[in-house]
């Protein structure tokens, strides 16, 4: 009896601890979740500015749309799921260490907002500058990043 209990505990543990996928039991490609209060586009850009300036993807990850277009100077180019976008950007910010990031111009048109600015970073011993294009789309009462170009 003892042995049976141990076996049951063992398999439950193995089942829960070693198999990827449980956290994504409710895999929803269209909603990446994340609470977001009603915000203006400019405040969202502010948040993005702060997040990218600090090199923390987690600060902006709840703004990622389910399929996000990313075009980066390291050759990353295409549509990525929000899960992928998180690590793609994390890797980029790690290798192209941010010095400063700012959104210079914002152009709003109904549910779409475009922001352009500069990403100054440190790479191979020197400081470089890339231009940034950010596109937000309002879905419901949330703003989501649908495109990020750092080139």
């Amino acid at each position: 009896m003892n042995k049976l209990l141990k076996i049951l505990i063992l398999f439950s543990l193995i089942g829960f601890l070693s198999v990827p996928g449980y956290s994504s039991l409710k895999y929803d490609v269209y909603d990446t979740g994340g609470k977001q209060d009603q915000q203006t586009a400019s405040s969202v850009f502010k948040k993005i500015e702060e997040g990218i300036s600090s090199g923390k993807v987690s600060a902006i990850s709840n703004l990622f749309s389910s399929q996000m277009y990313i075009n980066l100077s390291n050759g990353v180019n295409g549509y990525y799921s929000s899960n992928q976008a998180y690590y793609v950007l994390q890797r980029y910010f790690k290798n192209y260490r941010v010095i400063s990031f700012s959104i210079e111009n914002i152009h709003e048109e109904d549910d779409n907002v475009i922001g352009t600015g500069d990403y100054v970073y440190f790479f191979k011993g020197s400081e470089r500058k890339a231009q940034v294009y950010l596109s937000l789309k309002k879905t419901g009462n949330k703003w989501k990043i649908i495109q990020l170009t750092i080139d």
Partner: protein, 1281 residues
């Protein structure tokens, strides 16, 4: 002293010593690093100087190595040319073969005649003929040659042949001046190579006139060739102190991470002995699992191997999921997680199978256990299935790898790794699922196999129903009912096979892996279909993405970049500048290429004259500067204009002024356009296509139908269906959600389409974009299945090899292994031959189809050109080529001699992407061998294409026309890869089935031999009661019958021999006893007679005689007693050969002897080891005797249980036979007592005597039901070693 310390560190201590040493190193590195940093800060100027020198030395060394390789190639080529250019061996064919041999395929080779005419070349022509002579440097000296797009490291040398001096040039590319983000592009960059190596920014001037920098932050040095001539200049950013310090901290961190991992591994080795000594396997498994889970998180915490490995396996762009906070954030991290999960699951599964095969849950507890655990285990089962589905969904949705669209049979590394991950995780999950079922089934164990089958069937039906319910009650099920049915069926089938098989078998893992492959590929296919549907949304976004803002941004970004581009500025000063090349380089570097939008870049001089340009899809024309008449030249200006080729299309154009030190040099313009019609039909060839379009697309855009509405009016249509008003009604009336999107099914032309609608408001208008694709039912797509199954098969075959390698000893000797090998070899040879033959046939046919298509295309071009010239005789033939090129839209080139005189895709040649020299082999075949046509395969970087050349006469001039499929693809129903997938997929599947079938047959054929072997082993162990089941056919029946007769005869003879021996022994013994007794009896008799005589004679010395006689008699009695003792000692059991043994293998070996008899023997123990001191063979003989007694008492089930109790091991042997009657229970250990018709009745007596001889005991216990139960108690071995 040191020696003494090392002597003390023996055994496990050495591992702990290593661990402590590693921990010491970690602490030491933590202490030393700040000191090093401080030291570097203090001596930075000296260090910097040394570093600069080191970098300079290393770069020169790298270049010297390249130079040596080039000169080596030069030497080899010279030797070969000397032979082929010899007038006696003069053969152009031989010269062509040497120049085009594989040995020089990475080099560009050009051979010039003494008069400077190019006579031979290979496919990579680096230097135009006119630039070779006069020589830039003396012959045999290496230098750089800057081509339009590629810079070469080159050497021109001479070879003498019959007093004629031939020139030849060997070049190797060192720097590609352009970058294309796609898989066909091969990067070659000396600058990148050294920049990556030294982690600083480099610039290389590939000219002897390159100057050193005057910027104090940079350092320059000259590049000198072996002859001491300057050939270039290198400039690099001096290493910064901050960078250096960061690098040191980073290196220390990596070193500490690596050391921590090593310490963790060595610590495990240190505890190996303690781990082995753990008594309970459950504890072992838990510790084992815990160790691996902690190990996984340790690797994750130190970011290993992601922080060490370069390359695509660590790139999250291929796959990354946020599961477990990042433990599957890249293909390699997923691999490690899946591997660890698999290891844990295999270990746990093996443990469960051992348990099921060795123990039976007590009857009384079965129902309650089933009732308690049915619900939790079933829930776990269903949740695990959902978890697996979610994992596979993540593999599809969180990845840019398009598993079913891989262009090659064997995919690239990330795709291969992800396929392996999928198989591993699938196998791990399937092991878990089968384990759940086995556990449940064990609660319902029935002795009768038919009843057991019913149990399986019952559970199977219940699980199918619950699986269906599980799907129905989920909001978002991840699996279809049909798939759920198949999965549950497979899981139960596997569980049944494993449950029925009495022993754990490695083949079970192969079956599970195979099933895991089938299930995971099915899920992959299913989710890929979901992704295709979801990609409608991506397409809608993609259509809406290039809005005015984006196009404006892209133009502005491109123009700002070119404004300050030093190459552009210096290009204006260079009279020989190729502006087409410059424009192409600017285009390739910009987002215009990466975005795959129709675009162009043009370069103008300060007087607004067109200098050159590159365009793809749109050509704004040479009058476009008129649109910028008000441009003031301070910043780029962007305007919206109309496409001159199609006035319905709007384009954005921008201009920037190029100035140098305030002087205007010229202007650069860029244009960009987007139209719904351009989706999926890009004007640029595949080898320049954007990675986004090659890698990302989930769905073939040409299969889509796209409608755009503005304020409910249909404004744009893409695809071959123009919908009617009725047909668009459902789209316009669709219910949009809060995200302004809707999914619906629309009927068009009697077909159903999935539709995704995206609504947005722009400039006060409401726009709707509808993207539709044909409804596709889920089908068992064989192509998709085999495409992945083929990859899985490679891993499975590797698994087979590993499993066989582990059993190599069996393979060497076992009859079954020999049979298996023979079967596999015999069956595989025809399969492999057939596969290769079929593949070659299909490949030939495909090539023939392409050749025919290109041949027809070429004839068509030829006819049109000739018609043009016939209809308009006044036309120049170049005009005719131009007209044909414009009318046909087909890519073709015309050569006169070996030089191209016309190409319908002129801009790619002007840009320098393609050479204007005729393919050397085509030249040889058509010009020298006088063939009329030549078909070949060619390459641009990694892009393969087919070319067809034909000799024609135009206007009386012999020419060669070529067509290829680099620009106009030849459409075949199936590509070679498709065919490969089918052929190799089907044959691999057949191979696996054959291997499994061979294993089954080999097992079945060798079974009687294995039974005979076991029986013979039993006889060798003294068990003559062994009997083989004669229910076989043919010679085997005779063999088994003879064996049984032999054992009966042996047994009979043994009994007779034993009786005879016993009788002889008794006789001998009696004789000896009589003889020995007689010796003391004689003096006793004489003494007594003397006493009697003395008594009758009333002798006076009677008293003394009496005393003497008494003494003699007593002495002789003592002798008799001694003789008796001696005989008693002689009759004792022979001496045992006592040694330390582990009881478990002895018991298992004994049980194994009965594996082919109709009896179920279960060994139940939680112990891993049971060490005692005994005579191994005696103990085994005793155990065999007990088991044989049980069989002879009619038992069909024997249970052995081994437990530990008060420093003793208790082995109970119980059976369900006829048992031992109450009245004889006391006599069973008596010698010569037996209830059997044959035998001496010494078995249990000897057993008792043996057990007592090793300080143990054996007793007959009260059994619970019928049958007998013996309890054997033996002391544990105290000596641990």
């Amino acid at each position: 002293m040191t020696f003494k310390i090392f002597n003390k560190i023996k055994g496990d201590r050495k591992y702990f010593a290593i661990v402590f040493f590693i921990l010491f190193l970690i602490i030491l590195s933590g202490i030393i690093t700040p000191i090093i940093v401080h030291n570097i800060e203090d001596n930075w100027q000296t260090d910097l100087s040394n570093k600069i020198t080191d970098i300079q030395t290393s770069v020169i060394s790298i270049l010297n190595s390249k130079e040596s390789k080039l000169l080596n190639c030069d030497q080899k080529l010279r030797e070969k040319l000397r032979k082929v250019l010899n007038p006696q061996n003069n053969s152009y064919g031989a010269l062509t073969r040497v120049v085009n041999s594989n040995e020089f395929e990475n080099y560009s080779i050009e051979v010039l005649a003494p008069n400077g005419r190019l006579i031979a070349w290979n496919t990579n022509v680096a230097i135009p003929q006119n630039d070779i002579l006069p020589l830039a440097l003396p012959a045999g000296q290496c230098h750089f040659y800057q081509g339009d797009l590629i810079t070469y490291f080159t050497v021109t040398d001479t070879v003498l042949s019959d007093n004629d001096q031939f020139y030849y040039v060997v070049s190797v590319p060192v720097e590609k001046e352009y970058t294309i983000q796609n898989p066909y592009y091969t990067q070659i960059s000396f600058i990148k190579e050294i920049s990556d190596k030294f982690q600083t920014q480099f610039e290389v001037g590939y000219s002897p006139f390159s100057e050193s920098t005057r910027d104090g932050r940079k350092y320059s040095f000259d590049l000198i060739n072996k002859q001491g001539n300057k050939i270039g200049n290198v400039t690099f950013v001096k290493p910064g102190l901050d960078t250096e310090i960061n690098s040191i901290y980073q290196s220390t961190g990596m070193l500490q991470s690596f050391l921590a991992i090593l310490a963790y591994i060595f610590a495990a080795f240190g505890f190996r002995k303690e781990f082995k000594e753990l008594k309970y396997r459950t504890t072992k498994i838990l510790i084992f699992s815990f160790y691996f889970i902690v190990f996984r998180f340790l690797l994750y915490y130190v970011d290993f191997p992601s922080n060490l490995l370069p390359g695509p396996l660590v790139n999250p762009a291929y796959f990354s999921s946020t599961f477990g906070n990042g433990i599957v954030k890249s293909p390699i991290e997923f691999f490690i997680t899946a591997l660890f999960a698999l290891i844990i699951c295999i270990k746990g599964f093996s443990y469960l199978v051992d348990y099921i095969h060795s123990e039976t849950v007590p009857k009384s507890k079965r129902t309650i256990l089933f009732a308690v655990f049915f619900i939790p285990l079933t829930l776990l089962f269903l949740i695990t299935i959902r978890g697996f589905c979610a994992s596979v969904k993540s593999v599809i949705f969180d990845s840019t790898i398009r598993y079913f669209k891989e262009p090659n049979l064997i995919p690239n590394l990330p795709s291969m790794a992800m396929n392996l991950n999928l198989l591993m995780i699938g196998t791990a999950i399937l092991l878990l699922l089968v384990a759940y079922i086995l556990l449940l089934v064990s609660f319902l164990h029935k002795e009768d196999s038919r009843k057991m089958n019913l149990v399986f069937l019952g559970l199977f039906i219940i699980y199918q129903l619950l699986g269906l319910l599980f799907i129905v009650y989920q909001n978002e099920p991840l699996i279809t009912p049909v798939m759920m049915f198949i999965f549950i069926f497979l899981i139960f089938w596997l569980a049944l096979i494993i449950y029925r098989h009495k022993q754990k078998n490695v083949y079970h893992f192969v079956y599970i892996t195979l099933a895991a492959s089938v299930i995971s590929i099915t899920l992959l296919n299913y989710f890929n279909l979901n992704l295709e549907i979801a990609s409608l949304k991506t397409t809608a976004y993609e259509i809406n993405r290039p809005n005015n803002d984006l196009l404006h941004f892209l133009l502005n970004e491109t123009l700002q970049d070119v404004t300050h581009n030093e190459d552009v500025i210096s290009g204006y000063y260079d009279q020989n500048s190729n502006y087409y090349t410059e424009a192409f380089k600017l285009w390739a570097k910009s987002s215009l290429q990466r975005e795959s939008l129709n675009s162009s870049i043009s370069i103008w001089d300060k007087d607004h004259n067109y200098l050159g340009g590159f365009n793809s899809g749109i050509d704004p024309g040479k009058k476009m500067l008129k649109d910028f008449s008000k441009y003031n030249g301070t910043t780029p200006e962007i305007i919206e204009t109309v496409d001159p080729q199609d006035s319905t299309k709007k384009i954005f154009s921008g201009i920037t002024q190029i100035t140098d030190r305030g002087i205007t040099l010229g202007y650069i313009t860029a244009s960009i356009g987007f139209d719904i019609q351009d989706i999926g039909t890009t004007a640029i060839p595949d080898f320049l296509e954007s990675k986004k379009n090659i890698i990302n697309p989930v769905i073939d855009v040409s299969r889509l139908k796209i409608f755009e509405f503005t304020d409910s009016k249909l404004t744009h249509v893409y695809g071959d269906i123009y919908p009617s008003r009725d047909q668009i009604k459902p789209i316009l009336n669709a219910q949009f959600n809060q995200d302004n999107e809707a999914w619906l099914t629309v009927s068009l032309s009697n077909e159903n389409f999935y539709a995704y609608l995206l609504r947005n408001n722009s400039a006060g208008n409401q726009n709707i974009t509808a993207v539709l694709t044909r409804e596709k039912r889920l089908s068992w797509d064989l192509f998709n299945f085999f495409k992945i199954f083929l990859i899985h098969s490679i891993f499975m075959i590797f698994l087979f090899i590993v499993l066989f390698a582990f059993k190599i000893r069996d393979l060497k000797f076992s009859f079954r292994a020999q049979l298996l090998t023979a079967f596999i070899v015999i069956s595989l040879i025809p399969v492999v031959v057939l596969a290769i033959y079929n593949r070659q046939t299909v490949q030939q046919r495909t090539q023939t189809a392409i050749e025919n298509e290109l041949g027809e295309r070429l004839n068509y071009v030829e006819n049109i050109i000739k018609e043009e010239l016939t209809e308009s005789p006044s036309h120049d033939y170049i005009d005719a080529f131009n007209n044909a090129g414009q009318d046909l839209g087909v890519s073709f080139a015309v050569y006169e001699g070996s030089t191209q005189i016309y190409n319908s895709r002129d801009q790619y040649f002007k840009a320098g992407l393609l050479t204007d020299k005729l393919n050397p082999e085509a030249y040889y075949q058509l010009s020298y061998l006088s063939y009329r046509e030549y078909f070949t395969q060619e390459k641009i970087d990694n892009f393969d294409f087919d070319s067809y050349y034909k000799k024609v006469t135009i206007d009386g001039i012999p020419m060669i026309i070529s067509v290829n499929d680099a620009f106009n693809k030849v459409r075949l129903s199936y590509s070679v890869t498709d065919i490969d997938v089918f052929i190799f997929g089907i044959y691999t599947f057949a191979t696996i089935i054959m291997i499994l079938l061979s294993a089954f047959l080999a097992n079945r054929i060798s079974l009687p031999i294995r039974r005979l072997t076991k029986a013979t082993a039993s006889v060798a162990n003294g068990d003559f009661n062994v009997e083989l089941d004669e229910n076989v056919k043919g010679e085997l029946k005779e063999l088994f019958s003879s064996f049984n007769s032999m054992t009966h005869e042996l047994q009979k003879n043994q009994i007779e021999l034993a009786e005879l021996e016993r009788e002889n022994a008794w006789k001998e013994m009696a004789k000896q006893v009589a003889h020995e007794i007689k010796n003391p009896l004689t003096p006793m008799k004489l003494a007594v007679q003397q006493l009697i005589v003395s008594y009758h004679d009333k002798s006076k010395s009677f008293d003394s005689i009496f005393e003497k006689v008494s003494s003699t008699i007593l002495s002789q009695i003592e002798n008799l007693s001694l003789i008796a003792s001696e005989f008693s000692r002689f009759a004792r059991m022979p001496n045992f050969k006592i040694e330390k043994i582990d009881l478990l293998p002895v018991i298992r070996d004994s049980v194994n002897l009965f594996v082919h008899e109709k009896i179920k023997i279960e060994l139940n123990t939680q112990l891993d080891e049971a060490n005692i001191e005994t005579d191994k063979s005696q103990f085994r003989r005793m155990l065999i005797n007990l088991i044989r007694n049980s069989i002879q008492a009619g038992a069909d089930s024997i249970k052995l249980q081994l437990v530990e109790e008060d420093k003793n091991f208790i082995l109970t042997v119980s059976d369900n036979g006829s048992g031992i009657p109450q009245n004889i229970k006391d006599k069973i250990f008596d010698s010569n007592f037996t209830t059997k018709s044959k035998g001496m009745g010494l078995g249990l007596t000897l057993a008792k005597r043996f057990i007592e001889g090793i300080n143990g005991s054996i007793s007959l216990e009260e059994s619970e039901g019928s049958g007998a139960k013996f309890k054997i108690k033996v002391p544990q071995c105290n000596n641990k070693e």
